[in-house]
Assembly symmetry: D2
Homo-oligomer: 352 residues x 4
């Protein structure tokens, strides 16, 4: 029997991504697509017509968008809420849902810095899910966050490098316009241009990366100790954040060994065979001209995991510094896909 | 002595264009830059920093944006208002200004279909300014409109063709994103894409073209009698509307004669040597790959008239049908520049 | 038993499209991927790495590109050649293949104006395939051409309108950069710009449209008699040619009836259930903002027919003039896909 | 009396930039515009029609492109050659010119690593011009190179930071398509995409930066000793390379002091009042959303120096690491403009 779920903020870009990936899921069944009062009452398909590419799955087309009403959701047996709410409203609604006994898997940043809310990219820190036990002491439900979209790709690539003694990370991003939601950046600003600033982004990248790669002990996360410097910019690309990384390691192996290490890397989702887990969390390209957002953003097999693999290329070494490029699909691995993976993890590990 | 003017809606794209072109004008002196209450009280330069390219002229940088207060403007001796107001608010404000004795030159469409408000592209229908006399019978000031941005280029190109008996016009446009104002189209919709619809645009193109090329007699405009079909689309271009035109003529001369006719064409602004009038209203390109928005939008000499010429190319004939491409700068000739030219015309012809 | 086929010009954009669509085809089996001597001897997959999006099907990756050698192909039992050769070389090679008894389905324009070579878009003129019989009198094999990419979409949309007495067509295009092949247009020319000319394109559109919609009698094609004016421009879009059409009809029904007519339209490929035939040759959109290249180019079901449907929108009527927008995938329906459909047709109708 | 100069490789993008900037120069007079045999004999203006924006200065339009003939240039009294030749041909031609007594100011990389050829960005290392004396011992003329385009902006920004003990630089670039010349990158690769690799670029950036900021003593350059890591990518922008820089300093002052240091910085060109020298080599923006290629690439006053200033923004400090963004116009400051400045320097300092 599949568990009843709701998507909150269902009409935004990430909400749509959630709905698509959940429309035909082996563990979950959509009970409600909820959004702001402005959208409530409209057929979901009509809302998507302009925003999302291609055609809307028939199942979704006939859904009627409802207002967000936590009590009603609980009453109807919704056990899981996937939240793509804007941060301003996410905070209190997600708390209310958790208080009502619902498990919230959220892409909003509102609770990411709560001490007992784990921020999970499960290939990197599946074990942080144990923080749920701490939350359970104070309320029947819980909140699990995914990370900032740029962070999601970065921590998967850094995780297998931690063994070489990660000391310092410099990351510079080329972020797709879809990262700003819809309508997001004005076309007049973006065509033929680069915008060298994204509000609040660099701080999130620096904080969340160290938190996710930190260690959980005695119910508390201790941040990883490496230094990190992030510079984030917007580029005229639809989907896929490209990131240039320079990592200082205590002992930096040869690039060939790094390539092997990254290619062999498997995380908890792969071991548990979670439905949305990609077979390879990291795909390493030999071609120097890759990864490219246009060609590689949707990497990942099986089909359900398209966009869940992180693509890495241009691996090079200079002294103790390792250099590489990575690409992550910002609304799949960087948002909806990871939260779905987190819910699958929680289910498999009996937190649900 | 220069006349005091105000720019209304000064913080939008067209308002900024007005301000730049008026910052150092031989006939006019900026007394007020007015906009919505939201912008009021801020330094004008700071508002422009993100929107407009390059640097803001020193003169404008220190202006403080004020709220729109028609009575205050009248009291301070403002004789002319250039309006870049959104159509929703333009209607009543412009009427109030005219009632207070101010001459309004507007880019808003609110009054374009009022029977005694002339819609003027002065190379095409300078004589319609006589409608001001009709307005003066009911109020001390008056309103003169410029046209829809696509229409401005079209009527200048069609005017010298009227002598060959214009029977039918099919126009298909490639319109720049700046035509939608700021922020306008979402970058996610526009990058690598075409949007084949612009709300209300095609109707305006069809109606205004026939009105401007119509004849004024006994205080009324009689629309020109040719048929017209317009299809309007948005393309990922910053500035410059490209238009493909097929015109059926009663007798269609050879392309070479058409080229000569267009190159020789001069209108009233050229005869009166108005400061913002381009020496050549129509620039004809021999190169088949021109005009291109990126290369030709700012055509026009002298420097003050940059962007005021319409560029034409690819002139060909098939039976009685003439085919050509034209390019018009949508915020200069298609908006602010033409309204300034209209004010210069009104002044020279003693309507001010 | 599947027939052995060769793809000529296999490394170009259209050649790649052929290879992909034929990699797993129920009627055909790839025996050879042939290209210029420059590419010969290289693994096919390596050639594709930079040009084509996504990943290369395993089957193709290991093919070794060979030089074009018609006799060797004939000796190895190749019965069909799909040609994506550049027009300069296509002429003589295709003739040689036909003389050797091979059936050539070509996207090159070299033989399109030969009197006994049919130019077929089978939803519009499947019956023209009978011209093959004329060819067979002079050689054992034959050549069947598909049309110019813009024409392919246009004739499918015009075919069901012929019954209303088509008198005149004005078509203006927004053509994707992939239409120029690879590398094609320089990015410096195309970013944020429109190029209002494509060499030789307009003439092809005008001629081929009238030929395809013409009638075959006594072994000769008689062109359709309507007038046609084409203006073709290049836009910064990857795939999908958008076309704005104004068609004068003897009696123009209401838009609603037109919508019904287009939606109900089925051609020979649909009746014969050819594998690459889309269920609906014409998909009509109600949403005024559609079709858009980014969202609708790959329309078509079943999966094998993705990109084979033509999408139509914005249907409107003015007097006897009908206006609409159409979108056609230029390398699928506009090139490789249609030639494959032509081969399927020839096979089903016993020309092979 | 103005010195006679020649532009070599005059029809490429950088060659055109040279021609424009030299068309009306106080020290120099164009005697010859030379290019490959393919272009020779054609009017220069006709060559430019498609490539360069706007209109071609009348003076240049009538020039006839000539083949490159060093002896003929010497015979006609050409004293200076500005070279925009491709690296393959630049090597031997430039040597021949120097042997004939001509002073060569080149944008080609062929001789940049010759031990006695100075690579000069004069705000950073004007004193390296003394290497010309070494060259003069072996030939009557000499060669002075400008640097890689990305390097030109970087060294101007780093120069005033050297006093704080520069230890390590990480640079990540967003480079405009014009950096690849014309036709350069295919539009199909670049629209809505990032290409994370530019052949040979990163090595040049690393080597040339350390060389230019190195010290000249006893006729030899000793490279600066800081470490440097460069990652270079191509973005869909016309002009202007954006660079993200993280610099480790021995003692890193507060951002406010850094801003002051950069704003006050003046180099030799400013002290000598060279005609193409910008008043401010470094323009520091307070607005976090700047610099942007579209808005800031052409920064620089007086008018002749437009595009010669480097724009810096987003200055921040973290421990001993300083972070900032810089923007440099790649064909002006990064190529033609700097070589012209070098020639002005050589003239003022009596090397000519």
């Amino acid at each position: 029997l599949r568990k009843k779920i709701a998507v909150l903020g269902a009409t935004g870009l990430v909400g749509q991504q959630f709905a698509w990936m959940l429309a035909d899921h082996p563990y979950f069944e959509i009970e409600a697509l909820a959004a702001s009062d402005r959208s409530a009452g409209k057929r979901y398909g009509a809302r998507l017509e302009h925003v999302v590419g291609g055609t809307v799955p028939g199942k979704l087309r006939e859904f009627v968008v409802e207002s967000i009403d936590p009590k009603s959701l609980a009453k109807r047996g919704v056990e899981i809420a996937f939240s793509a709410l804007p941060s301003e409203t996410a905070g209190s609604i997600e708390t209310e849902l958790a208080n009502l006994g619902i498990a919230v898997f959220t892409n909003a940043s509102a609770h990411r810095m709560d001490p007992d809310v784990p921020v999970i990219i499960p290939e990197a820190n599946a074990e942080h899910i144990a923080l749920v036990d701490s939350q359970r002491k104070r309320r029947p439900g819980f909140i699990v966050a995914d990370s900032n979209c740029s962070v999601s790709g970065l921590v998967i690539a850094l995780k297998p490098l931690m063994q070489f003694g990660l000391k310092d990370v410099t990351i510079t991003t080329y972020q797709a316009v879809s990262g700003a939601g819809y309508p997001g950046e004005a076309s007049l600003d973006v065509i033929g241009n680069i915008i060298p600033f994204i509000e609040n982004e660099e701080g999130k990248v620096e904080k969340e990366t160290r938190r996710i790669l930190g260690t959980l002990s005695k119910g508390r996360i201790r941040d990883a100790s490496f230094d990190i410097n992030a510079t984030c910019a917007r580029v005229p690309v639809h989907y896929g954040h490209l990131e240039s990384v320079v990592a200082e390691l205590e002992t930096c192996p040869d690039p060939r060994e790094i390539v092997q290490t990254l290619r062999k890397f498997r995380g908890v989702p792969q071991k548990l065979l979670l439905p949305t887990a990609p077979l390879e969390p990291l795909i390493v390209k030999d071609d120097e001209y890759r990864p490219q957002p246009l060609l590689d953003s949707c990497a990942g097999t099986p089909e359900r995991a398209a966009g869940m693999s992180v693509t890495v290329g241009r691996i090079a070494k200079k002294g103790r510094k390792l250099r590489f490029i990575l690409l992550v699909h910002n609304t799949i691995r960087g948002a909806a896909g990871t939260s779905i993976l987190n819910a699958e993890l929680a289910l498999k590990q009996k937190y649900l």
